[in-house]
């Protein structure tokens, strides 16, 4: 019961208290407007290079933008606590670490999902991209799975936050890494083999591929493998991120660096 309370109430409280994003002055520019301009930029670059259709860029960038809340928010679970001097207090409590850390990721997944959904709908409307009605429900599923897997990477980012002081920098670097490697704007077939091989093990890659096929008229059954792969990758990152968090926590305690990174 206590674990459930930590998971749900603790996660929500942490989200509300730490992220400082719940003011419309930050939320609207960062989560609703910025992704639209990212979509427009790459759609226009795509038109310049005659590489892919607008739909390719709308879907790729809309799903990829979930990485902003997923990476930054999870990074802030450590960086924000440290900034407010509450990190040692949280980590000296006997609370189970699993509900403590995983609980904080649930609101983040929801946040990432909403950002992707909004960008997908408005980006499509802006550029006149048509998505079949039958693809809407499967796309919702894919967006949710992608936000989940991205949050798994966010957990790893949070763990890095126990060793690196500026989590905004690590979040930005990971965001750029995903932008280059995951086939968001450049088809995997056009990237060098080593890059597309790395992409296979990253969140987003399979989710974006599945979403593109769905928007192209494919059924959910046809992309089930891709969705399953995205889910599996997400689970691996969640487990890996949690293990890394525990390891870094133990190391930080041993070194006495919880407050200074």
């Amino acid at each position: 019961m206590t674990s459930l309370r930590i998971f749900f109430v603790g996660g929500l409280t942490s989200y509300r208290a730490l992220f400082n994003w719940l003011t419309p002055w930050i939320l609207i520019p960062s989560f609703l407007i910025a992704p639209l301009f990212q979509i427009l930029l790459f759609a226009y670059i795509g038109r310049t290079t005659h590489l892919e259709s607008d739909r390719f860029y709308v879907i790729g960038n809309a799903l990829q933008y979930a990485a902003v809340p997923c990476l930054f928010a999870m990074g802030n679970t450590i960086g924000g606590e440290r900034f407010q001097h509450t990190l040692p207090l949280v980590l000296t409590t006997p609370a189970g670490r699993l509900p403590l850390f995983i609980g904080r990721s649930v609101p983040v997944i929801a946040n990432g999902f909403v950002v992707s959904g909004f960008a997908l709908v408005t980006g499509s409307a802006l550029l006149g991209v048509h998505v079949p009605i039958s693809a809407v429900a499967p796309l919702v599923l894919v967006a949710a799975v992608t936000a989940f897997s991205c949050t798994g990477l966010g957990l790893c980012n949070a763990a890095l936050g126990l060793r690196v002081r500026e989590t905004a920098v690590t979040s930005n670097i990971l965001f750029g890494f995903l932008l280059v490697f995951c086939g968001v704007n450049v088809p995997l077939s056009s990237l060098p083999a080593w890059m597309s091989t790395i992409a296979e093990g990253l969140p987003l890659t399979h989710g974006i591929a599945a979403a593109r096929q769905l928007a192209g008229g494919a059924g959910l059954g046809k992309v089930a493998g891709l969705v399953g792969a995205e889910l599996l990758i997400g689970c691996i990152y969640v487990v890996g991120g949690y293990a890394l968090l525990r390891l870094m926590e133990i190391e930080s305690r041993r070194r006495g660096t919880l407050e200074i990174a």
């Binding site: 520019p29 310049t48 290079t49 890494f177 932008l179 450049v186 990237l191």
Partner: protein
């Protein structure tokens, strides 16, 4: 003489301080390299290898804007956080002479972006760096940096009333890349966007830099960038005066 010394020392101090901050190193070097890599593969996959120098250059130009935006847009907020905004405004020199070198330092950081993307393109992708008008290219870069520094002054002054300047900076990064033609030709954009583009000094600066590097006449771009910089200076001075007075009256200068 005192004014020149104040500007030079503040510029140099801010430049050194910025290069120590991780987020500026990211904005000025790592992010442009990410976009240079993306631009390279986008243009290469689009079967337009002749435009690879264009891609490397464009990523650098995007970096110059990002450096200006985050450095200049947040300049006043950084002073707030450090608790030095009130003493700086109360000091005898006009605040304009303190803020301008800071925003100029922010745009100067953009030189790192341009240099890093060109060297990255050369070293990693083997893009030949042959500049058609090397002297005009360097002059165009210098003028663009100054023009962006003055534009940064307008931005920084405007953000004095907006405490969440960083969020606004995040939002403005991509639109200005699009509108100024940093990587996308303006001819592809809707007609009404062109009017916005013409009023932005980076549009002309970028045009001059491209003409200096890839061929064409860089001088009209340099002239327009300088003229717009002069207009921005007048606007920035006026905005700063009004907003500074308002913040003093409401006693909100140091409120974060």
């Amino acid at each position: 003489m005192h004014v020149a010394r104040l500007i030079a020392i503040t510029w140099w101090f801010q430049l050194k301080q910025s290069t120590k901050a991780g987020i500026f190193v990211f904005t000025a070097i790592i992010e442009p390299l990410i976009f240079a890599t993306l631009a390279y593969y986008l243009f290469k996959a689009g079967k337009q290898p002749g435009t690879l120098l264009y891609a490397a250059l464009s990523a650098g130009l995007m970096g110059i804007w990002s450096a200006t935006l985050f450095g200049a847009g947040g300049a006043i907020n950084y002073q707030r956080w450090q608790g030095v905004l009130e003493p700086l405004i109360a000091a005898p020199p006009p605040y304009l002479l303190v803020l301008f070198p800071q925003t100029l330092a922010a745009s100067t950081i953009g030189v790192y972006s341009l240099t890093s993307t060109l060297l990255w393109g050369r070293a990693v992708f083997g893009i030949p760096l042959h500049f058609v008008h090397p002297v005009a290219f360097l002059l165009a870069v210098a003028v663009t940096i100054v023009a962006l520094g003055v534009l940064g002054l307008v931005l920084g002054s405007s953000f004095i009333l907006y405490r969440e300047a960083n969020a606004l900076s995040n939002m403005l990064e991509f639109p200005v890349w699009i509108v100024t033609g940093a990587i996308v030709p303006l001819s592809l954009l809707p007609g009404w966007v062109h009017y916005l583009s013409w009023g932005l000094a980076p549009t002309w600066g970028y045009r001059a830099i491209r003409a200096g590097a890839l061929g064409g006449n860089p001088w009209p771009g340099i002239g327009w960038a300088l003229a717009l910089a002069a207009v921005y200076l007048l606007i920035g001075e006026a905005i700063l005066r009004v907003f500074e007075r308002r913040a003093r009256e409401k006693a909100t200068l140091s409120l974060v």
